[in-house]
Amino acid sequence: MSSAQLEIQLIACLVAIACAIPGTFLVLRKMAMISDAISHSILPGLVIGFFLTEDLNSPWLILLAAVTGVITVVLVEYIQKTGLVKEDTAIGLVFPALFSIGVILIAKNANDVHLDVDAVLLGELAFAPFDRLIVNGVDIGAKSLWVIGSIVVVTLILLFTFFKELKVSTFDKQLAATLGFSPLVIHYGLMSVASVTTVGAFDAVGAILVVALMIAPAAMAYLLTNDLKKMLIIAVVSGVVSALIGYWVAHYLDASIAGSMTTVLGVLFLLVYLFAPSKGLISVVFRQKRQQVEVYLLTFMLHLQNHTEESERHINHLGEHINWGKMQSKTVLDLALKNNMIVIDDNIISLTEKGQGFTNKAIDYITTNSTVAIEEMKEDFFLFRG
């Protein structure tokens, strides 16, 4: 592995960390699309910064672009506050307009420089090591490494300093305001960090990958845990892992690093989406099915209790009476038999004592809606699942 390769991987990992932290809060605050908006609307800031400084590597570019990012957020909020359109429409109006201004500025004025829209939107990590930071004639590493590195350090310092404030204001704005933290300051602080991260990162990896690195790891973490600290850690780790795998996939396919990192993120997200223990698709569908069967069982037993006459309780008539398909009634019958809730005597079904007691409790719960009943019911339901 050459030192350039090492540097690329290091930059990729740092970008992943820098994105995952604000990304987690954006996802929790239901503001994920703001990262997409910022990543596009900083273009005019970059272009104007370039016209003013004539230098693509000037720190003023980053600063101006970050300011444009915050302006985007302010504009979106202003438009939303007028009540003329909803928040998502406000986002959808602001960033294409700003992006268009950026594209037109570039097309009109910057023909002879290598500031083109493709590079800005797509980025190329492979070129990052060629742009060195030289202090007093000594090469001290790739410039992106230092830019991203300092962003990571600042983000981490802010995260540790304001963790409590961030946590409270994310989950309970009112409480945060009562406790005396200004949610507004936290909000704009977060937006500024997201803006600076986007600007710092997209030079290396492109706008779209910034969005992917902000949202996808946080979304995965959200499906895996309910704890904010764990969520942050999982987001950072999955971001770093996909950055590394993505780099090597790109290396073997000889393809775009940003593209393959995103693709790896996509595959990882798909896996988590399908197989996450309690929030994944499979377990959700499974749980919904089971709850459905439980509700059917309850309806079935209530029906049995309501009818003393034998004709109503004949096994062949049940399907007709409660309108179930054959499969369904069989599942429910088997479940009830297994739990000793019913007995079948000469094709006539009757409730056992246990079934009777259970049904009474259920009626009790349905009619009085008292929580005591449901607590006990829950335990009984767990019996079914065994």
Binding site: A32, L93, I215, A258, G266
Partner: protein, 374 residues
């Protein structure tokens, strides 16, 4: 070439005619369907779908090896639809919110598309040049067959809208009620989403991935400000969209180095800005004027209520009082007294004022209301 020359050329130049017609039809189509996207709170769906279409375009090219725009659009349509339904799946089955789902699909699909594009760029087949026009859009590459495709799709969606108009309208404003009436809500939902996806896909070639969402939203958001009626809104949005297309093409054609997509989007943004400020009922300008008038009326009423208190202790309503005694109360000016006089609520003679009959009853009612509210 300036704008007038452009419009002169428009009648003779075939290419210009094609492009202008194309952007106009696209604008109208997007405005029409965008109204539904905006009202259904699916504004950012356009952004997500236009990004999600990229891998479809790349895959279609990889499979067929041809750059036929209809094949590529078909690929875009398929991957756009896959993206849309995955977004629905995420929102319905997991705890993730809509915005996260949109951002996920948008960035992940687009990233995968980029991977495929770099793959294609390395293929020996030199035919791949021009695939990136879908990223930023190039109205200049529109040919007659593309415009035909757009016209057919616009016609189809118009037909569908007309046939299912009542159902769509009901679905927009009360989905549960629609369901309880026995309409197939799922079918309607899929139908309208399907057409929104199609309109996004046909627009990709003209304005590009990033700006497509604005094409969908801006005309609709502008139209929304002028009316509360769905049919008027849809028609207005289609008109705004078509105008943005035509003007955008005209401006970009009459100047060097101006790509059409961004100009169209900026024109649409100007429509939005104008509507936000100047629409009579919802616009910010008239709203501000209404607020000011209300505030002034409130001031006048305060003065009037104060006068009433003074007059109440006299038998004679039009007993004159010195303006000076109002001095401890700061709610009046020479102008506001003049206004009260204009409304025939008081009469002012030199330094004295007195309430008229009308002023007295008005003030009495005002006062009663105040007391009731307390």
């Amino acid at each position: 070439m300036n704008i007038t020359e452009y419009f002169n050329l428009l009648f003779t130049d075939y290419t210009l005619q094609t492009i202008t017609l194309g952007t106009a039809v696209l604008g109208a189509l997007c405005g029409m369907l965008g109204s539904f996207a905006v009202l259904r709170k699916q504004s950012l769906l356009g952004d997500a779908i236009s990004h999600a279409a990229l891998p479809g375009i790349a895959l279609a090219f990889l499979i067929t090896g041809a750059k036929d725009s209809n094949t590529l659009l078909l690929g875009a349509l398929v991957s756009g639809l896959v993206g849309t339904f995955w977004i629905r799946g995420i929102v319905k089955k997991t705890h993730l919110k809509t915005d996260t789902a949109l951002g996920l699909i948008l960035s992940l699909f687009f990233g995968f598309g980029m991977l495929l594009l770099t793959f294609i760029q390395k293929m020996p087949n030199a035919n791949q040049a021009g695939l990136d026009k879908y990223l930023f859009g190039q109205a200049a590459t529109l040919v007659a067959s593309d415009v035909w495709t757009m016209c057919i799709i616009a016609g189809l969606s118009l037909l569908i809208l007309l046939v299912f108009w009542k159902e769509f309208k009901l679905l927009l404003f009360d989905a549960d009620y629609t369901k309880s009436l026995g309409f197939n809500v799922k079918f309607l939902d899929v139908l309208i989403t399907f057409f929104i996806v199609i309109s996004i896909v046909v627009g990709l070639q003209t304005v590009g991935v990033v700006l497509m969402s604005a094409m969908l939203l801006a005309p609709a958001a502008a139209a929304r400000q002028w009316t509360n009626s769905l049919s008027v809104m849809v028609v207005l949005a289609a008109i705004f969209g078509a105008f943005s297309g035509v003007f955008g093409t005209a401006i970009s054609a009459s100047s060097n180095n101006l790509s059409t997509g961004p100009v169209i989007v900026l024109i649409a943004a100007v429509f939005v800005l104008f509507s936000f400020v100047f629409s009579p009922k919802r616009g910010l300008l008239f709203r501000e004027i209404r607020y000011r008038n209300n505030r002034k009326d409130l001031e006048l009423n305060k003065t009037l209520a104060f006068m009433y208190q003074i007059v109440e202790s006299h038998d004679n309503i039009d007993h004159p009082h010195a303006i000076k005694i109002l001095n401890n109360f700061h709610g009046f000016t020479r102008k506001s007294l003049q206004k009260l006089e204009d409304r025939e609520l008081i009469t002012v003679t030199k330094t004295m004022w007195s309430l008229t009959e009308k002023g007295f009853t008005t003030a009495a009612n005002l006062y009663n209301q105040l007391e009731e509210n307390e």
